[in-house]
Amino acid sequence: MRMMKHRAVAVAALSVVTLGACNLDIQNPNQPTQEQVTTSPEGVIALATGLQGRFAQSYGNFAYMAGLVTDEFASTSAALISISDAEQGAVPSGTGIAENVFNSVYRTVRTADDLLAGSVALASQFDAGTRSGIRALAFALKAEALGEALQSYQKIPIKTYNVTAPTYVGRSEALPYVRALIDSAAAEIAATPPSAFFNTTILTPGMSLPNIIQLFRARYARMANDDATALAAANAVARTGPAALSVLTFPSPTVNFYANVTGGTNGIAPRRQYRTSMQAADQRWAYFVAPSTTLTGRVGALLDPWLRYANPQAPLPVYMPDEALLIKAEALTHQNQLAQAQAVLDSVRTDCTGGRGLDDPKACLPPLGAQLTQQQLLDEIYLQRKYELFGTGLRWEDTRRLGAIIGPVAAPAVPTSGQRCWLPYAVGDRNANPNATFTALPDPTEPSTFPSSCTTS
């Protein structure tokens, strides 16, 4: 009996020892935790790279969608029905086209906010120039992401960080918020120029932060009809040199956004009329497409295949360098400085081989000649924007602000302008956000007569 007790004790002891080894707190080796990322400088720097990656996605989604619902892109033959619907102006609630811009924009915003929080929490671990660069990058890309949202949805949430039920506001509130973010970015780098460490190891190659900030500043000032700021900011964007062209780069195995959507079920290509509607001498199509006489889409649209983005590693410009000139020309026109405006516009028209040494669309057109009137200049600027800023998503806002939304255009008819005012709100937000239910936030009503402008709140 005594023997047995000893053995029982031994068994019990053995059990305890064995079980002592079972630690139930297993760390996830596949993914870092929030804490691991946000509490180390390396983690925060990686967030800055992640932000630029997400920005590339949200910008790509925006430009893709905006090109479809205007007159820029149409679906290729194997594309999903929702894509050929969108090219005809129909975007039902709940489709990827309606959701992707919203979801990816707010992921970019989230990462920008995480990065800003990291720059505060770890302020002492970064030198001043690196910290200002990080913060300016976060402010600028967050601003542009929200700017893309407000060009796609009638109302958007602007305060979303650690908010469980974000509220939606109209453009009158959202646009100033976006502009304030850009001003914050500009203020950061004006106070402390970004460090060399930031410029070489955090900012991805091909990006010029001061130029990006000033271009965005000009873009949204123009949208707010603030000609003075638009002019000042446009003048601050570099005209020549490598810094004048900011690009997102896609070294192998990553693939630029347009190369990713040339084939398969989300395949799109430029409509052939982009090329054929140009003045005969205009060469800008050569930057984008390879001329085709045969390529047709899922519902019969005539297409030209991509030339530039057929190369999956082709860099994607963050903005077309001549956008600054076109904004400047428009501001000058509004300020009635017509001669100066026309000179700026001519510099866009006459940009040709060699030119400013930038890899951008080159019209190679003759100058305008006789002085145009204010309205003629605005019309010409609108036309030049269509050809110069192709594939940037800006076309949609241009057609909207000029009251040129023409409503859905059923194939085989070919649209020549924006086909709808807004996207339906993202069901992904509606499903969980009490401030975004169908009752709290009805989808905007599309106009009943065309051409039309769109209500912004």
């Binding site: 707190d25 992640g50 989230r110 908010v163 974000p166 195995p253 499903n431 975004a436």
Partner: protein, 1014 residues
Amino acid sequence: MSSSLVRRGALLSALALASFIHATSVRAQAATGVVRGHVTEGSGGRGIPEVQVTIAGTRIGAITNANGDFALGAVPTGARTLDARRIGYQPVTRAISVNAGDNDVGSIALNVSAVNLNEVVVTGTGTATEKRAVGTSIATVDSALISRAEAVTVDQAMQGKIPGAQITQNSGSPGGGGISVRLRGTNSFISGSDPLYIVDGVIIDNGSAQLADLGIRSNPQNRLADLNPDDIEHIEVTRGAAAAALYGSRANNGVVQIFTKRGTIGKAHYTASTRFSYSQLREQQPFNFYPFNENGIAVNRYNYQDSIFHRAPANEQNLTVEGGNDQTRYYISGNFADEQGIMRSTSSRRSGARVNLQQQLASKLIGNITANYVTTHNELQAFGEQNDYGIMGSLFFAPTSVNFSPTNGIYPLPPSLGTNPLLAIDKIRNPQQIDRFIGSAKLTWTPLTNVLFDYTLGLDNTGFEQRQFVPRNAVLGTAPLATGRSQSVFQSSRVINQDGVGSYTWNPIGPFDLRTTAGVNYTDQRIRMTSATANGLAPVGDLVSAGSIFAAGQTDVELRTLGFYGQQEAAWKNKLFLTAGVRYDASSTFAPSERWQAFPKFSASYVVVDNKPGALNNLRLRSALGWAGSQPSIVNAYSQFITFTQLPFAGRPGFVNDVTFGNPNLKNERAREWEVGADVGFLEGRVSTEATYYNRLVSDLLFFKPLPTSTGFSRQFAPIGSMSNKGFELLLHTQNLDRQSVSWSSTITYAHNKNLVESLSIQDFQSAGGYPNRIRAGYPAGVFYGSYAARDCVTGALLLDSLGRYRRSNQTVDMGATLAQRHAISNGTCNDSLNAIIGDPNPKWTGSLLNEVTLMRRLRLRMLLDGVFGNQIMNLSTRAQNAGIASNSHSYERELLPYGDPRKLAPGFNARTQGIFQYWIEDGTFVKLRELAASYTIDAAIVRRYFRDGVDLTLSGRNLYVWTDYSGYDPEINLFGTNAGGVGSVQTTAADRGFDFGGYPIPRTWSLSARFTF
């Protein structure tokens, strides 16, 4: 010593687990004898193997060999009581007189019985107990039923034998097809709904994930296929939470315990069996074979089913040797199976060996070792949901007018989707290599006759390599795949299981017997996976190294579970049994604050009539109440952590927040189940029945709760609602005839289950991404939800457009843009909703009928009918055929008929129906002739001279015929069947059922087998 039941239970525990104990107290006595005998089925029937024979009041015991013979050594002389028992038979006790030396007690006859209250079951405590003491219904399937099924895998062999288990073969792929087992309905969305599998006390992995894209959601195989059915001694199935509560946080879906053969005492005893089979497509599908196209121009049509399917041979060889003495017992087996699939270029080959060894280490200590190594090699092809190289998808999506035959060695590709199926068969390769070891070591220590300690260490280690080779220019579609793909994925899966249990039997007062059990269990499961993928393949070479563009990946997932349990059993006069137990469980998956959960259980069993002669022989009433949990499958093992994910950009590493937000309060799903039932035996044991009603409610169901996407997140793994399953199970066994020359018995199973999503705290959702089904409160899980054909609200007639085509409920062109227009078209408000609940994939009831007839004791005939009733299937295969690119369905022929033909359908009729999901709902009711077999024993003297028990010859068939109205290949196949849930698999839920989309048809199989013993 009391002869009370609970004490006998303790003895049986030792026997069931260790089977043979040579007690020192007995050995100490001088005068002993050897007792020999022979156990037969009925008087003068065949010898029965695996019968436990014990001497009452001692721990001397033995198991009969394959011939029914037994020998007990060192039995004290004098008057003794011999006890013989086996699953499925009424036990027998016989008084014997033992003399020194050899004692032959002759034949002992056991009679078949379905109600056997003395059957020993393990019930999830690690200690054995008699069935009469258990308040829940436990189904057992023994080796004879398994081996007679002539099935490729264990789960196939269980089909139609367990009431309340819906065992579905989701594909006809070689090597068993992917099989899913649902015990008492769907009980979880996310944790997988397959039960926990335990082999000889070792929790094993039954994953069905495919490591490469073999067609999204196809179901080629689940890993239970690695077990050799011939090695199995018996299976115990505990269906509900009440029965399985002692498995704690993993028991919600029930538990299947598999016990392998132990070996019998005596000289080495060899058994060889061999089987040759062939399988074939049961029936072809009709396609569009109309010899003209849309423009009335003559075209050639091709039937590629002739080229894709063939008659496929298979063979299986088994050799076992077993034997032993009073110190050592062994069972050694070798197995080889080679099966061609009915789809050309698919096959499965399995070779395995097993050694089960038991050794008396000391007078009170027994060691048991099981070791099973198996290597499986599969050659598979993609099927299921369309991918770019799936054979079934390509068959359904390609026009029948395309000539796929190669010319000049070039295989023409289809016009729009998929690949050339002939090319896939000839050139695309998906080999799998699985090397698996399942082993256990167990120590049983019985320091006193009423104290038992047991420790088991188990290991299930699986190395799984999946390769894929798609040559250049083999598929249409996007650039990377068209440049060829070679992929190699290695997965190592390891489950380590430690189990310790102790029990103490005591008798404090009079008629009460008590047993106290306490135990601990620890499981550590780890899955590591490394993948390498290459595109841009060189013209020659099919390994990853032949590529020019590379990608790689790695994952490492670990899940640990620690549980303590205690149980108190009380018996009163061998009549009333009360049990209370609790398991206290923690899993690493859950948040530390929620981790420890208690799962109690209570059960009662009352034996009203116990083995009485006459009209009513047995009556037992039972009831149980218990709680159990379920954990997320290993793919979601880290859901409690808020994590970041890699987003490299511009060639630099980057992090962004994971859009699935971690849940730092994650806790397990919790099921509460009660059941009540009765076991009754009538008419001298000729009729017996087990009936059970159960009611289960699962709360805190885990699924992805949507988060506002404006926050930058999309979802969080969180409790979203509750779901119930209520049902009734019946097992009825009748001995219709029992004569010397002929005996005939029948077994009927019936199970009815009603599933209901009781509540949802989130919006109702589509559980199968992209598929028209729904989880909605107030409906069964996974109901079909989608577009319907609008009807006139007054007459109920289908609304047609001017060309006679249906009007689709969610199509503006058909129904108008405004509600007012809809009302005008519909004559009322009945078509207001765009989509509706249009069907239910859950069966109303399932049942089976097994008949076994023995003639002249030599010829045995058996027939098993297995059916599923009242479920619906969405036939997406035919839908895919119906329009657009393919237009190859049989009904499309009618669109091609000349105008004026009364059968002519309007142009676009089929394209229109393609958009109406309701149109594709069909009745999925079927009855299958699951098993049909005739066995004959050749036992002529000349044969017996070489083969001791004669030779058994069996001609059998599986899935020979199906009675159904379903129009597709097979009503049993299911796109989402195995609910993979493995690392790297597509997210599906257990509720996603009833979708037929490009499945691998289940073949009809004929086999001829022979079994020799020597």
